[in-house]
Amino acid sequence: MTDPLLDVRNLRVAYPSAHGYSDALRGISFTLGREKLGIVGESGSGKSTAGRAIMRLLPPKARVSADALRLSDVDLLTASEAQMRDIRGGRVAMILQDPRYALNPLKTVGAQIMESYRIHTRAGRAEARDRTLAMLEDVHIRDPRRVVDLYPHELSGGMGQRVMIAMMLIASPELVIADEPTSALDVTVRGQILEILNERVEAQGAGLILISHDLPLVSDFCDRVLVMYGGQVMEELAARDLSQATHPYTVSLHASLPPLDHAVDELIVPEYDPSWLTEIRK
Amino acid sequence: MTDTPATPARQSLRDWLQAPTASSPRQARAQAFWRGWQRLIANRAALAGLIVLVLLVAMAVIGPYLTPYSPLQQDLTARLQPPSAQHWLGTDDLGRDILTRILYGARITLMMALLVAAIAGPIGLAVGATAGYLGGWFDIVAMRLVDVFLSFPSLILALAFVAALGPGIENAVIAISLSAWPPIARLARAEALTVRKSDYIAAARLQGASSMRLILKHVMPICLPSVVVRVTLNMAGIILTAAGLGFLGLGAQPPSPEWGAMLASGRQFMLTSWWLAATPGAAIMLVSLAFNLLGDGLRDVLDPRND
């Protein structure tokens, strides 16, 4: 294995609040190769902040620091805004929860995908259109020639998320960050979307970070999982070992899910140990 | 008891207001008010507006006791005197002290503005919230009425009313109120429309709440902040309209020291004695500006989207 695609060391983010700064991320570290990494946590754990910090999409008031935040050869901490524009959408793509809000409602699907391709490749119109059609076919849209001319409101949720994936992956990014990509979708289309995402990422040899609150989903889909709580990584483990997790937070998170196979009288409500919030020193 | 250090009452009040959890409804309300107040005074411009308005009210209340002159007492030997140690803002064409007249005029102006707000605000709020919540024929009738009122410039409308009712401060107040409520009603209706389908209204309906109760206790509190902001911002316009009516001789009648009327009579002497027109003009401007700044600040404080 060569150099990691993404190297994050001691990443800290703080937002201004009524009383000075409040920490959203308190020193998280991980590396990512061409693999699928899951970041799991509940609301407020800092999982989305981590994704946005990598894209440098945090509000300007946020205070960001890290010992290292590198995308292969680029230092994301010091990169200029012009470099970042190139990276966002070009080398790093981000897929958000709800395609209805992430797509421009006034432009056709095709125009938006073509635009994102041409921004990053300098391709001509005809080539961009061909690539767009091919890409829509790659995300298993049956009739790309019809879908190209649709507006976002004419798409179903699952279709919208396929379009998002097509749009985000058309410039062949090295890293894809998917922030709750299936939470807004019905359970029967979730599987298809993840399948498509997996297929595309593997075909293009990209790295993937899947940010989710859904422990079973992440453990099923990813190779490795980071479990986050209170802005820190509680535990990092191989996805298939999730059922043998050792950290009490991961264990209780797992146990609080209602089981499908058998009945239980009472669900286990996680009890939080205040010591988890004290900073882990390395 | 003696080993507890004596804390000044002020300190403990602050603690009470800043306690992380309230333990009585009174404290909860006081805390909510306190947080809003903190946000308001954190906004410099709004604070400036508030201070100017407080000073103005104070001046209107106690000012007349501070000046040795009467606003109506003429002194033809001291006509058109420029600002001096004796007459800080000079005298007018009948020898009356302008500062005194401005102070007395502040009472009239503020009284008119507050009366208009007290009439137009509640009417607009009630009509708008009811129309927005109920919809149907009430909404149609009320909003067409609003359209009719809105199709005239407010000063023209006020002019027409005063012309019909006869000149005078009371009639000016009625006229301005009649032209001031429709925009407020429209605003309140827009707010009501956004909440009528909300879950908390539905939940209250399931508690057996009547339409009356829903409008009064649920819809109106939601509309109130934007109405307060709008009325505050409108104050400037109300004062200008009042001054405009006074200027045109349809509001306060001479010798009343109303600012608009003062401005109108000072107009003839503008080239020779500028202070006659400039002083009431500046007063009108200052008060309008103060209301606008305060209104902007209130918008930031009261808008729940900023929570």
Binding site: D186, V187, G191, L260, L267 | D199, A203, G208, P221
Partner: protein, 254 residues
């Protein structure tokens, strides 16, 4: 055999007119015995929440029957109806009035029905849902999602209804918070003998809470089954099988 606590008979609801007409619910029927928990599972747009709104009368334009204890529910709903049937809404951030103190929100039904010992009742119901009585003196924005949903449950319980309609009560909450709220709901049902009708898209939640389950898609109840059949994956209809398979995929597939 007593009459079912709640019965829905041939309920149909359509939105819009002419070409834009959408049949949201199409001849749905089910009945729930007293003290039972009935679940309706379906995906977005299946019409499951629409049924609950029709039961409460929030949605008045329906065909068919809503029967409480064998009696046709009055249209429009009379006040007495709400002493029998209450509902908890999906979004805890939208179902509490943002500018009213929790105490005012909870005081409302007590005022409307002129009940006595108001402060005692509020304190008691807050304790029942697992909150300290001091929470009455907070505003909604000072509460977490789980706490808000507990307040919403408390509000629904104040009138001591026998039937509680639950519209995806935990879908906006984290799983750890969801566990607490579901535990409270289960404990309340046992302690007070309540009848539940719960709507959800989450098979796990429905299976945990309910003993009988209706599967809805495109406005129709395609299958009604017991929770044991659901757990054992004994489904008759293709759609139910797909739904169960998709919900289980994340657990079993390797």
């Amino acid at each position: 055999m007593s009459a079912p606590s709640l019965e829905i008979a041939d309920l149909s609801i359509a939105f819009g007119h002419g070409r834009a007409r959408v049949q949201a619910v199409d001849r749905a029927s089910f009945s729930v015995a007293p003290g039972d928990a009935f679940g309706i599972i379906g995906e977005s747009g299946s019409g499951k929440s629409t049924i609950l709104r029709a039961v409460t009368g929030l949605l008045d334009d329906y065909e068919g029957g809503v029967l409480i204890d064998g009696q046709m529910a009055p249209r429009p709903r009379a006040r007495a109806f709400f002493k029998t049937v209450q509902m908890v809404f999906q979004d805890p951030y939208g179902s509490l009035h943002p500018r009213r103190m929790i105490r005012a929100t909870l005081m409302e039904p007590l005022e409307i029905y002129r009940l006595d010992r108001r402060d005692d009742r509020i304190a008691q119901v807050l304790v029942d849902v697992g909150l300290a009585p001091e929470y009455a003196y907070r505003y909604p924005h000072q509460l977490s999602g789980g706490q808000r949903q507990r307040v919403a449950v408390a509000r629904a319980l104040l009138l001591e209804p026998r039937i509680l309609l639950l519209d995806e009560p935990t879908s906006a909450l984290d799983v750890s918070v969801q566990a607490g709220v579901l535990n409270v709901l289960n404990a309340l049902r046992r302690a007070r003998g309540l009848t539940y009708v719960m709507v959800s898209h989450d098979l796990r939640v429905i299976a945990h809470m309910c003993s009988r389950i209706a599967v809805m898609t495109q406005g129709r109840i395609v299958e009604e089954m017991s929770v044991e059949d659901l757990r054992a994956q004994r489904a008759q209809e293709q759609y139910t099988r797909t739904l169960i398979a998709a919900s289980r995929a994340a657990v079993t597939a390797e």
